[in-house]
């Protein structure tokens, strides 16, 4: 089964399994390789990358929540040039497409970044992460710049709360796909320091909220693939997004707490959950159907072995 996750242009991205890890939850493709079969995933979305290096945040970066976690990393990364230098070989050997998650707040940063990324054959597409408080006008300007500047497909990850307002504008600006959505932002009190901390919220509880946004927007958006992302923790969660109209899904923090769930979801959505042994009779998979007994009688064999 192959799925086109971007608009049908000359560089459209086609994946074999409609799921991929979300940006910021899977490193740069270099982690979890000992735990899961990465080639079962549809694609890899890298951790966020900026044109210039960004330092890690200071202070509390992780606050445990009831059935979830709030994370504020500051999106530390070594900058675009060093990231490409470090991971180019790894990405070139990946059997699945690599989508680079780009964080940029100005058109100039986007121009410089996309010019550089376009030279890299190992990158199949760019996922542009938009700020949470961005206006539709600013989003359009950034997306138009990205689309015009490069050849690679531009997927745009929308903030959850503003998705209703900016989705259509971003689609009209030429985005090749929409990711709905980035993990929502929240504020929680750090039990260790007693201070309030802001960051992104990862939890199964995010899924019903984002699923509604996806469902609502699917009615309004035409001819643009949508990737559902937020709070997926089970196989059914992932299927729910596809049922709501999403072309594929991105799986986030469950990768941290139960890494093998990524592979389970990939197998499930890729139609690989049931693997029948060659020559097996159906009743070995569905006890009670009696095919084995019938076959043995036909051959004249005793079935009291």
């Amino acid at each position: 089964m192959s799925v086109e996750i971007t608009r049908n242009t000359k560089n459209a991205i086609t994946i074999q399994t409609p799921m991929m890890p979300a940006a910021g939850t899977f490193g740069f493709g270099d982690v979890y390789r000992d735990i899961i079969k990465v080639d079962l995933l549809g694609a890899i979305v890298t951790s966020p990358v900026t044109y210039e290096p960004w330092h890690p945040a200071t202070g509390t970066k992780v606050v445990p929540l009831d059935s979830g976690v709030l994370v504020h990393t500051g999106l530390p990364n070594p900058g675009l040039h060093k990231t490409l230098k470090t991971y180019r070989n790894l990405w070139s050997m990946m059997p699945i497409p690599v989508i680079l998650h780009l964080v940029a707040t100005t058109a100039e940063q986007i121009r410089k970044s996309i010019t550089r990324i376009d030279e890299e054959e190992c990158i199949a597409g760019i996922e542009l992460g938009l700020n949470d408080d961005i206006s539709a006008q600013e989003a359009v300007k950034l997306v138009e710049t990205a689309v015009k500047r490069g050849e690679k497909p531009v997927l745009v990850r929308l903030p959850m709360l503003d998705a209703y307002e900016i989705a259509e504008a971003v689609a009209d600006a030429g985005a090749d796909a929409l990711i709905i959505s980035a993990p929502p932002r929240g504020t929680a009190r750090d039990p260790k320091t007693g201070k309030l901390v802001s960051g992104r919220v990862y939890s199964p509880i995010v899924k019903p909220m984002v699923l509604r946004v996806v469902g609502q927007l699917m009615r309004r958006l035409k001819e643009i693939p949508v990737i559902g992302a937020g709070g997926i923790h089970t196989l059914q969660d992932a299927r729910d997004y596809l049922e709501a109209g999403a072309t594929a899904v991105q799986v986030d923090s469950v990768a941290w707490i139960q890494p093998d769930m990524l592979e389970k979801i990939a197998r499930d959505l890729g139609g690989k959950s049931v693997t029948k042994e060659t020559g097996a009779f159906p009743d070995e998979w569905y006890p009670g159907m009696g095919d084995t007994e019938r076959e043995k009688r036909r051959r004249g064999e005793s079935f009291k072995e």
Partner: protein, 247 residues
Amino acid sequence: MKETQAVIERIKQVNLGYQRIELSVDESLLQIKPGQSILARLTETWDPYLRQQWFPVNLLNGKLIVERPLSETYEIGQVIHVLGIIGQPFRFRKTLRNVLLVAYDTPPIPLLMTIPWLLANKVSVTIALLGVATSYDTQHLPPEVEVELGNNEGEFLWQNQVMTLGWADQVFVTVGPDNEFSRFANVIERVRELRHDVPRHYLFGVFQQLLPCGAGACHSCMIRTDEGTALICLEGPAFDLTQVILR
């Protein structure tokens, strides 16, 4: 790193506040060394969401021993979902003779696995318990370990401090997790006051930040060093405090 299951084989109270749990673990976890840890998940539900970081205190007869507070309830036969091994072993000097372990406002559990290893290698060990760590009962520790108690007012101070810091070839410090960076900054400041120089690979901070992934995927445990950045879950938990940018 692997995702495996462990089974609780035995539980024994070892002092007034802690119990030791003997775990049957996957063979891969028997390679664990002092400083390294596992991420444990006790339930099938999403609450608590994050795995707990468990620093083993010993490895005996093919079983991993962890120390947990008595306030937590465990049962023989209980299955624990484990992700590990996390981090790197402590980097001891080859010519090591004396080691100072310091627990400052936190139980000394991340440091305890070093003790049997160091004693077996004929290295003398002193452990200083400061602040809330003074309430940690040390009766179950080997008698060869010298214990120094500070006051319980949260100061980085104990008797014979100048002597023990001068005598130690290496120092490993763990601090209360409420404000690790600021506490480590105070520690290095204090040690610099007491020694005329703090050489490289002498004073190590053992970081205990929450690790959502433990695999280098989430980047939430990234710290700045004078050589760039480092991930506590991959390159820690111990870092040379003269190289970490703490402020």
